[in-house]
C-alpha cells in the first residue's frame, strides 16, 4: 500500500496534480463553510457553470494563459451572481428559479461559444477548452500551480483580515448592520472571494463538479464542530484530502481508461460527507442511535 503510494507520487505528473487539487480543496473548503452556513450552497453551482462563457470569451479575445482565462471565468461568474441578485430583488421571480435559469442560460452560451471557437479559431485544438467541463488535473502545469497557489493565498489572506466581520455577517447579518458594519460591501467581498475560489478550480475539477468541492468539505466539517474556526480548518483538511485522494484514484483507474479527475475528487469528498454524517462528533447519526438505545434501557 505505502509502496504503491510512493511509486504514484514519484511520478511528477501525479505529484503536481495532487498538490494543485489539494490547494484547491483547501481554498474551496474554507470558502464553502461560509456558503453552506449562509444557505447559499448552490451559489457555487451557478458560478462554475456561468464561468464557461467567460473562459470562452477570454479565449476569443486572445487569452491563452491560465490567469487570464480564470479572470474571464471569474468576471462571468460574478456577473451571473449579480444578475441573480437583480432578478431576485427587482422582480417576483423566486431566487431558486433565478439561480437555475441563470446557470443554464450562461452554460448554454458557453457551449455555443466553445463550439464556435472549435470551428473558427485556428489554434483552438491545441488548447482544448472542453477540459474545463470535467477537468483534468494531470494537465496542470507549473504555471497553473503558481496561479492556484498565489490566488488561493490572496483569498485566504483577505479572508483572515475581515474574519471577525464575516463571521458576524454569516451568523447575524441584522445585528451586523445595526452596529454599522458595511454589510453590503462585506457581502460583495465574500461573494467575490467565493467566485475566485470556484474559478481557480475549473481546469482541474471542471465546471460541472466544482460546486461539490465547495459544498461537500464544508458540510462534512459541520458535523464535527459547532465553532466556525474549527469548521474552517476541518473543511480545509477534508478539501485537501479529497483533492489528493481523487487525483490518486483517477490516476489508478486511469491506467485502464481516461478518467477525468473531477468525478473522482467529488466521490472522495462525498465519502467524507457520508462518514461525517454518521460518525460526526457534534451531531452524528450513529451517536443519536446509540443515545436512543441507552435511553430506552433506562440508564439515563
Amino acid at each position: 500500500m505505502i509502496n504503491t503510494l510512493r511509486t504514484i507520487f514519484d511520478s511528477p505528473g501525479v505529484r503536481d496534480a495532487a498538490l494543485g487539487t489539494a490547494l484547491l480543496g483547501i481554498v474551496a473548503g474554507v470558502m464553502g463553510c461560509f456558503a453552506v452556513l449562509r444557505r447559499q450552497s448552490l451559489q457555487g453551482d451557478v458560478i462554475s457553470h456561468a464561468a464557461l462563457p467567460g473562459v470562452a470569451v477570454a479565449f476569443l479575445l486572445g487569452a491563452r494563459g491560465p490567469l487570464l482565462l480564470v479572470l474571464g471565468g471569474a468576471i462571468a461568474g460574478w456577473v451571473a451572481l449579480m444578475l441573480v441578485g437583480v432578478i431576485g430583488r427587482r422582480s417576483r421571480v423566486p431566487v431558486d428559479a433565478a439561480l437555475g435559469g441563470t446557470l443554464a442560460v450562461f452554460f448554454g452560451l458557453g457551449l455555443a461559444l466553445m463550439r464556435y471557437i472549435q470551428v473558427n479559431v485556428p489554434d483552438a485544438s491545441r488548447h482544448p477548452l472542453d477540459r474545463f467541463l470535467f477537468g483534468q488535473a494531470a494537465l496542470l502545469r507549473d504555471s497553473d500551480l503558481w496561479a492556484i497557489g498565489t490566488i488561493g493565498a490572496v483569498v485566504l489572506l483577505l479572508l483572515s483580515l475581515v474574519w471577525k466581520e464575516l463571521k458576524l455577517l454569516t451568523f447575524d447579518p441584522d445585528y451586523a448592520a445595526s452596529v454599522g458594519m458595511p454589510v453590503r460591501r462585506l457581502d460583495l467581498l465574500l461573494t467575490t472571494l467565493t467566485v475566485v475560489a470556484v474559478v481557480i478550480g475549473l481546469k482541474a475539477v471542471g465546471v460541472v463538479l466544482m460546486t461539490a468541492l465547495l459544498v461537500a468539505p464544508a458540510a462534512a466539517a459541520r458535523q464535527w464542530t459547532n465553532r466556525l474556526g474549527s469548521m474552517v480548518v476541518l473543511a480545509a483538511a477534508f478539501g485537501a484530502l479529497s483533492g489528493i485522494g481523487g487525483t490518486v484514484l483517477s490516476h489508478q483507474l486511469g491506467s485502464r481508461a481516461a478518467v477525468p479527475t473531477g468525478p473522482t475528487i467529488v466521490l472522495v469528498a462525498t465519502g467524507f460527507v457520508l462518514f461525517s454524517l454518521v460518525f460526526g462528533l457534534a451531531r452524528g447519526l450513529a451517536w443519536e442511535v446509540r443515545w436512543r438505545s441507552v435511553a430506552k434501557q433506562g440508564n439515563l
Binding site: H49, G101, G108, L111, N120, L253, A258, P260, V266
Partner: protein, 364 residues
C-alpha cells in the same frame, strides 16, 4: 433546420408545462438535480440490459430522477444539512458516479461523456429505441411526453392550482399534497428523460425554469402563464436554432442562450412589471408627490398673515428646501395640471389643488 426547430420547440414546450409548477412551488433546482442524475440511471440500466437501444434505459433514468428527490428529502429530514446543501451534495455525487462509470466501463460505445453532456438534437429524428418490435425515434417519445403533460395539466388543473397556491387549504379539503408532489416529481423526471437526449443534463433546468419565469412576469393567471411559457419556449427555439445555424454553433446551447435573451427582454420591458415600466412609475410617483407637497405647503398657509411670504414663487426654495431648478419644474407642472394659479408673485391654490392637499390630511 426545420427538423431541429421542431425538436427544440417540442423540448421547450414539454418542459415549460411542469416548469410553471416548479417555479411557483419554489422547486426549480430540483429539476437541475434530476437533469444531472439521469446519466447515472442510464448507465446502471445499461449494465443490466447491455443494450444501448433498450427503452429500459429511459425507465432507469426516470427512476434515478425520483430516487434523487427522495434522497434529497431524506437528507433534509436528518436536519444535519440544510435543504440547499442537501441538493448540492446529492446530485454532484450521483452525476460524478455516472461520469466515472461511463469513462471506466463504456469506452468506445457511443455514450461518451462529451456527447452526453452536450445533447444531440440532430439525432432526435433518427430511429433509436426498440419498443414492442418498432423502431421509435426520440422525437416520438418527446411528443408522447408532451401529450402526457398536456393531459395531466388539463385533468388536474384545479388540484395543481390549489395545492400550489394554498397547500394548507388543499390538504384540509382532502387533496393529497404528497401524491401531487410525487406525481409532479415523476412528471418532471419523465420529461427530463425525454429532453435529456436533445439538450443534455445541464441545460434541462433552463428549459424547465426560464420559460416559466418569463411567463410569471407577464401574467397573474395560472392558465395563461402555462400558455405563455410554452410560447416563450417555442419562440426561443426558433431564435436559438436559427442563430446556431448561422454561426455554426451548438444548437441546444444557443436555444438556452435565446431563452435568456427572451427573459431579459421581458424583464426589462414587461408591461406593468418590467424594469422600464417600474422606473416610469417611480418617476410618476415622485412627480405626484412633489406636486402634493407644494399643494400642502400652500394649503397650510392659505389665508394666514404669513401667506404673503410663504406663497411667494421665488421664496419656495427656502420654505420647501428644494433646489431652485426643482421648484421651477414643480411649479410649472402644477400650473399646467391646474393645481395652482399665479397671482402676481404669489401662488394660489385652485379648488383642485386644495382638494389634493386636503386628501393628505384626510379631510373631505
Amino acid at each position: 433546420m426545420r427538423e431541429l426547430i421542431l425538436v427544440l420547440a417540442v423540448v421547450a414546450a414539454t418542459c415549460a408545462i411542469p416548469g410553471v409548477f416548479l417555479v411557483l412551488r419554489r422547486m426549480s433546482l430540483v429539476s437541475d438535480a434530476i437533469g444531472h442524475v439521469l446519466l447515472l440511471g442510464i448507465v446502471l440500466a445499461y449494465f443490466i440490459t447491455r443494450n444501448l437501444d433498450s427503452p429500459w434505459l429511459l425507465v432507469g433514468a426516470a427512476m434515478t430522477g425520483l430516487l434523487t428527490v427522495v434522497l434529497v428529502e431524506l437528507l433534509q429530514r436528518t436536519k444535519l444539512v440544510k435543504s440547499d446543501a442537501a441538493i448540492g451534495l446529492v446530485f454532484p455525487a450521483l452525476f460524478a458516479l455516472g461520469v466515472l462509470l461511463v469513462s471506466v466501463n463504456i469506452r468506445n460505445v457511443h455514450l461518451d461523456v462529451d456527447a452526453v453532456l452536450l445533447g444531440q438534437p440532430e439525432l432526435a429524428t433518427v430511429p433509436r429505441w426498440q419498443m414492442f418490435g418498432y423502431n421509435v425515434k426520440p422525437i416520438a417519445i418527446l411528443f408522447a411526453v408532451l401529450t402526457l403533460n398536456l393531459t395531466l395539466c388539463l385533468l388536474l388543473f384545479k388540484e395543481l392550482k390549489l395545492s400550489t397556491f394554498d397547500p394548507g387549504l388543499a390538504a384540509a379539503l382532502g387533496f393529497r399534497p404528497g401524491v401531487l408532489h410525487y406525481g409532479l416529481m415523476t412528471v418532471v423526471s419523465i420529461t427530463a428523460v425525454a429532453a435529456f437526449d436533445a439538450v443534455g443534463p445541464v441545460l434541462v433546468v433552463g428549459f424547465f425554469v426560464v420559460p416559466a419565469a418569463t411567463a410569471f412576469l407577464l401574467t397573474d393567471r395560472l392558465g395563461l402563464m402555462i400558455v405563455l411559457a410554452v410560447a416563450v419556449g417555442i419562440v426561443a427555439a426558433v431564435i436559438g436554432v436559427t442563430a446556431a445555424e448561422r454561426l455554426d454553433s451548438n444548437t441546444a446551447g444557443s436555444v438556452a442562450a435565446a431563452l435568456g435573451l427572451v427573459f431579459a427582454l421581458v424583464f426589462l420591458a414587461a408591461p406593468g412589471r418590467g424594469l422600464i415600466a417600474a422606473q416610469f412609475q417611480h418617476w410618476r410617483q415622485r412627480r405626484t408627490f412633489e406636486e402634493t407637497m407644494l399643494a400642502v405647503h400652500l394649503y397650510q398657509h392659505e389665508g394666514t398673515p404669513e401667506e404673503a411670504d410663504e406663497a411667494r414663487a421665488d421664496g419656495l426654495d427656502q420654505h420647501l428646501r428644494w433646489p431652485q431648478a426643482r421648484v421651477h419644474r414643480v411649479v410649472d407642472r402644477a400650473l399646467v395640471n391646474g393645481l395652482v394659479l399665479r397671482e402676481r408673485e404669489l401662488l394660489k391654490l385652485t379648488p383642485l389643488g386644495r382638494e389634493r392637499a386636503k386628501q393628505v390630511f384626510g379631510e373631505r
